[in-house]
């Protein structure tokens, strides 16, 4: 039944979605510099095959027919824009602070739509169930109210004052405490999480998820981590993030439908889902078509 309602949205919705003007004009991560150091990367962006490499410190990307695509080096990654009017690419200024480690924690293929992957990243309520013993633990299941706002002329979405009890919030955490979060969505398929340091409130751990839209139901999720942690080595940091992501993957691949429904009545939210509801509205306002079911 769900398949049939997708099929009736235009003659060839799959091709239409790959030409979503909103995403064509955005920059998207296609590979980490860490991965490119090992050699060129063949990948797919919005249904188009690309070969990406770094030559003389410059990123290059080519289509299958040899045509070049616009590239940019930014935040440990190569970004590509396929459209004619490239959008402004956001920054994460906190990452430039001195004495900060910035680590690419992995690129994960997931069989779901890119917006479903972002929505999962913005979700607090699943911690005690999907990340039991790490990011949450029963009976500490309550999601207290938090503040949601759109900023930058509707281009960015924020959730502030998010609080949640976490038994082991990071690789270096030894006991549980209430963690404070800020979520930022500066791009329809990118999200940044700031975890306030409980001891030094001016400093924060930063975790960012950049979703590469391979197709409307296939994503490559690139995760960037910058922690104020001088006890764990990179391998431990990466291992922890990969463990957490591996717990989310089977959930994402078992959501029906895989495309994110934007109609308010399609799924039943509660107060804890204020950010998810706002994200769906934000995508609807941008006019996104790729990987969603329009309202």
């Amino acid at each position: 039944m769900l398949a049939s309602c997708i099929m009736t949205r235009g003659n060839d919705p799959f091709i239409d979605e790959q030409n979503d003007p909103v995403l064509l004009d955005q920059w998207h991560v296609v590979a980490s510099i860490a991965e490119l150091r090992r050699g060129p990367v063949r990948t797919i962006l919005l249904g188009r095959r690309l070969t990406v490499a770094i030559r003389q410190d410059q990123p290059v990307a080519h289509h299958a027919d040899g045509a070049a695509a616009a590239t940019m080096l930014h935040l440990e990654y190569v970004w590509v824009c396929l459209g004619q009017k490239p959008a402004r690419l956001f920054d994460i200024p906190e990452l430039a602070e001195p004495e900060r480690r910035v680590v690419h924690a992995g690129s994960f293929g997931v069989r779901t739509s890119p917006p479903r992957a972002i929505e999962n990243f913005l979700d607090l309520g699943h911690f005690p169930y999907v990340h039991k013993d790490f990011l949450g633990l029963e009976p500490h299941t309550e999601v207290p109210p938090y503040r949601v706002s759109t900023e930058q002329d509707g281009q960015e979405l924020f959730a502030r004052d998010c609080r949640f009890f976490q038994p082991r919030s990071a690789a270096n955490a030894s006991e549980g405490f209430i963690v404070e979060y800020v979520y930022r969505v500066p791009h329809p398929l990118c999200a940044v999480l700031y975890k306030l340091n409980p001891l030094d409130r001016d400093r924060q751990d930063v975790i960012a998820l950049f979703c590469q839209p391979v197709g409307p139901e296939q994503v490559r999720a690139h995760m960037l981590v910058s922690l104020l942690d001088d006890t764990s080595d990179d391998a431990e940091l990466i291992g922890f993030q990969q463990l957490i992501f591996a717990q989310d993957k089977p959930i994402l691949e078992n959501q029906v439908p895989l495309r994110l429904p934007l109609s308010p009545g399609a799924e039943v939210p509660v107060r804890a889902d204020a950010m998810s509801v706002a994200y769906r509205r934000y995508l609807a306002a941008l006019g996104l078509r790729h990987g969603v079911i329009a309202a």
Partner: protein
């Protein structure tokens, strides 16, 4: 769509207390589960909250718990009884999972693809493991009647056939469940009396059926 009626979803013995399996009937994805009250249920396989398949959740007592955010649904009426993110608020009212009519007979959990269909009980037998065929119900039934010598149809979705002599020669009732337009599951009852080793007979039936499937796949 196939004619409305009762179709097998799973072997009753394969659905132990506290277990959930998934099954598709006529394009409808179902979470088939059994709670502490021993009652088998077939629910729409989708959590109304954020769409996660309920078949990857868990059973606690007589309730089904969604794996994503722990929402709980009561076996008795499918109503949401708990939203852990708001432990002190009532769950959204009117929220309830759709259940399909289910019954257990002849060692099989059955589901009515329509409403109030007449139930005909098959001759009892040893329940064999179901196998999936990449064919629609009508095509598969036709192919089986053509390929299995001495076989005969019982209604629209059942067949009577015999295992070859080397495989024991038992008579079997094959029960076809249409999953989608090009997918069918074949459940089987082997009529072998009360043998000492029913598992061996069930396995012989499965091996034979897998051979039939290979034959069909090779002829495509």
């Amino acid at each position: 769509m196939t004619r409305a009626g009762w179709y097998p979803l799973a072997g009753a013995g394969d659905l132990a207390e506290g277990h959930i399996v998934d099954a598709v009937l006529d394009g409808r994805a179902l979470a088939v589960w059994r709670g502490a009250d021993r009652i088998a249920r077939a629910w729409e396989n989708r959590c109304p909250h954020r769409g996660v398949r309920l078949s990857i959740g868990s059973v606690v007592g007589d309730e089904l718990v969604c794996r994503y955010h722990g929402w709980r649904f009561a076996g008795a009426d499918g109503r949401c009884t708990r939203v852990p993110a708001h432990p002190n608020s009532a769950p959204p009212s009117g929220l309830r999972i759709q259940a399909r009519p289910v019954r257990e007979a002849a060692g099989i959990v059955w589901c009515d693809s329509g409403e109030g269909s007449e139930f005909v009980e098959p001759e009892p037998g040893i329940v064999a493991r179901p196998l999936m065929f990449a064919m629609g119900l009508v095509a598969l039934r036709g192919a089986m009647l053509g390929a299995l010598g001495g076989s005969s149809a019982i209604g629209e979705a059942w067949l009577r056939a015999s295992l070859p002599h080397e495989a024991g020669g038992w008579t079997v009732t094959l029960l076809l469940r249409p999953a989608g337009p090009h997918e069918c599951w074949v459940h089987g009852l082997v009529h072998a009396g009360a043998p000492a080793r029913p598992v061996a007979i069930a396995r012989a039936q499965t091996d034979w059926l897998a051979g039939v499937r290979r034959l069909f796949e090779n002829s495509l």
